[in-house]
């Protein structure tokens, strides 16, 4: 028996290219369904866990999937904004926690998420270093962002400027990193968080600049009355908020029109949630969605796709089995003379069969081992894969 095993392994080693190709083919046929099942299962877990942690989301009318995914995962979207006053109305009228959210800007391609302070409490986010953003211009980094950009508390992070050649738009804002959040294994790890007022500076609605009464250059001064001074858009605004200039920051216009991507609601109880949904969906021109319901609908689509994928995997597995049988038959044909010699020498029929069986078992064992290894690696890096998805 050991001799047959030895010969089988020697044969496989001698034909190592063919062995490798066959092993890989079988391993791929095993990995695909296993990995896809694991991926979808983990994807579903992550999505539903975050959705369950966010009872209600209010945002502009339109695609509810887009609203839910934008508010939960900070995806850049073309979603219309809602006004700050809507948030204030919900906050004042309904019991529970209501958190404003704006994620329309980025810093080095990571989303800048403007939120209220309550957001950190509701998500269970705590800094492992430094503090949460306490004032305008402060930023706290998600764990992955800090690692990827190699930034830490005390460093600075510039926002990405959307319109580089439009001098009327606000310049990139230099933000001070006040802390780094602990790992949450969620989208929060891949975002940077600022106070909602900082977002309005990025929007160009709020800004700070020097005393306009002291402008010497007449080209910068477009108009002046006893009550107001109109300065040119070319007049340089501050691009960093410091203790010295923070007092100069101000908002032009009505604060109730300030834009939000959405606001998140953690209602006091189910009754409050029902009343809030009814109130907003019936009496306002924006929508309130239940993220879990949206995610369930989304997963239903994913599962339909998975059924197709499973069918394809089954076809792939069947074709791999047929090809493996073909390879074995061809191999038997190629080795016919060798087998005849073994028979002539006195090798038993059982032993000749054993040679083939050992080889097949060895290839299957290697394929299973490889498939298990790949599946393990996939499961290890799965959170990253899910972020890519």
């Amino acid at each position: 028996m050991i001799g047959l095993l030895y010969l089988s392994l020697k044969h496989l080693l001698y034909h190592r290219v063919q062995t490798t190709i066959l092993t890989l083919s079988i391993a791929v046929a095993m990995v695909l369904p296993a990995a896809s099942k694991m991926l979808i299962s983990r994807y579903q877990q992550n999505l539903t866990a975050r959705a369950d942690n966010t009872p209600l989301i209010a945002g502009a009318k339109g695609n509810r999937f887009e609203l839910a995914l934008t508010a939960l995962y900070f995806r850049q979207s073309s979603l219309a904004t809602i006004s700050y006053s809507e948030y204030e109305r919900a906050r004042d009228k309904h019991p529970g926690v209501v958190v404003p959210l704006n994620c329309r800007f980025t810093a080095r391609d990571y989303p800048i998420v403007g939120v209220g302070f309550e957001y950190f409490r509701e998500r269970g986010l705590k800094p492992i270093d430094g503090t949460l953003p306490l004032q305008m211009g402060d930023v706290v980094l998600g764990k992955n962002v800090a690692e990827a950009l190699q930034l830490r508390t005390g460093d600075a992070l510039f926002s990405d400027q959307k319109e580089i050649y439009d001098i009327s738009k606000p310049p990139a804002l230099k933000m001070h990193i006040t802390g780094v959040l602990g790992e949450s294994r969620s989208a929060d790890d891949d975002a940077v968080f600022v106070d909602i007022k900082t977002i309005w500076i990025l929007e160009g609605i709020a800004h700070g600049h020097g005393d306009v009464k002291k402008i010497d250059n007449p080209k910068m001064l477009l108009g002046k009355t006893e009550e107001t001074v109109v300065v040119s858009p070319a007049y340089i605004e501050y691009n960093e908020i410091t203790p010295e200039n923070i007092a100069s920051y101000h908002i032009h216009g009505d604060s109730s029109t300030l834009p939000l991507t959405a606001f998140l609601v953690w209602p006091k109880d189910d009754k409050a949630a029902t009343i809030l949904k009814g109130d907003i969906n019936l009496e306002t021109d924006y929508q309130m969605v239940v993220p879990r319901a949206v995610i369930d609908d989304l997963m239903a689509v994913v599962f339909r796709i998975k059924t197709v994928f499973d069918t394809l995997s089954a076809v792939l597995a069947a074709s791999t089995i047929l090809l493996t049988i073909l390879v074995i038959l061809l191999n038997m044909r190629i080795r016919a003379r060798e087998i005849e010699t073994l028979h002539k020498i006195g090798c038993s029929r059982f032993a000749v069969g054993g040679l083939y069986v050992f080889e097949l078992v060895a290839i299957l064992a290697m394929s299973v081992a490889l498939a298990a290894l790949v599946t393990t690696v996939v499961s290890t890096v799965l959170p990253d894969l899910i972020r890519m998805v």
């Binding site: 028996m1 001799g3 047959l4 030895y6 010969l7 020697k10 044969h11 080693l13 001698y14 034909h15 003379r337 060798e338 010699t341 073994l342 028979h343 002539k344 020498i345 006195g346 090798c347 038993s348 029929r349 032993a351």
Partner: protein, 280 residues
């Protein structure tokens, strides 16, 4: 039986000595003694009797393209330690005869006895077991496994069979054989990296590793140049003599016949060879 042959891995075959279909062939005269008695008698006598004994053998190949082939041997004996050449034109049944003696083929009728055991009465598994332990085969095309080394090829019978007992001295025996066949320096090479002569010497070592009583060689020098063939035969005969083994060799090369003690001419032995069944 000499000392060397006592070292041969021994097998005890079940004494399934009931009548075999081939014993009762219509063309053959009925045995005068019962099969069991016959076998017992053979066991008593075989120590002094020939190593191989063939009686009233008839073998027919299935019809192939309008030709049938049959081999009929009334009586043939090959003695212990005898060196016998088997000659004859192609199609006279040389290879068929050695395949029958080796138990690779089974006769329709008649009896083949090897060292007291009636091969034609054994089932396939027992014939294989007998072959691997007591008969060494050398082929014209060497028939080495390309994916293992020369040493592993020599040890092949022990790798493919549980019938043979693996003892620690097998490798030593293989090394000694290789040394006597002058291939010690190539033991760890694969056949692809060996010359034709070296390959055939590896094949000869393989046939002798179990220390069989009988070596059957089917045109072993057919693929070798004359000089290499001579060297190979010298080494083969030396080794056979050392072991006191019996050699049955099929050959077309009449220049080597003086090395043998006896020559079997198949045209004389087999009167029924290559019979066309349709007239052209």
């Amino acid at each position: 039986m000499n000392v060397v042959s006592l070292m041969v891995p021994t097998l005890v075959f079940g004494l399934d000595l009931g009548s075999h279909p081939s014993d009762n062939c219509d063309a053959m005269p009925p045995s005068s003694i019962s099969p069991a008695a016959d076998d017992d008698a053979a066991r008593v006598v075989h120590r002094r009797s020939p190593l191989i004994s063939i009686d009233q053998l008839l073998f027919t190949y299935a019809q192939v393209e309008r030709h049938a082939f049959s081999l009929k041997v009334d009586r043939l004996e090959i003695g212990n330690s005898e060196h016998v050449a088997c000659i004859g034109p192609s199609g006279t049944g040389k290879t068929t005869l050695i395949n029958l003696i080796a138990g690779i083929l089974t006769p329709e009728c008649g009896r083949i006895t090897f060292d007291g055991t009636t091969i034609s009465n054994l089932d396939d598994a027992r014939r294989r077991a007998l072959r691997i332990s007591s008969i060494g085969l050398v082929f014209q095309e060497f028939e080495l496994l390309e994916y293992v080394t020369a040493l592993d090829n020599i040890l092949l019978p022990y790798l493919i069979s549980d019938t043979l007992r693996r003892t620690p001295d097998i490798r030593v025996r293989a090394a000694r054989l290789a040394e006597s066949m002058r291939i010690s320096h190539v033991l760890h090479r694969r056949p692809k990296r060996l010359s034709q002569g070296e390959r055939q010497r590896v094949a000869i070592c393989r046939s002798m590793i179990t220390e069989p009583k009988l070596i059957i060689a089917d045109e072993p020098t057919g693929n070798l140049d004359p000089e290499t063939a001579d060297i190979t035969l010298d080494l083969l005969f030396n080794e056979i003599r050392k072991r006191d083994a019996t050699l049955l060799m099929v050959t077309h090369n009449h220049s080597v016949l003086d090395r043998f003690q006896r020559i079997i001419d198949m045209t004389e032995l087999n009167a029924t060879c290559s019979t066309p069944i349709l007239n052209h």
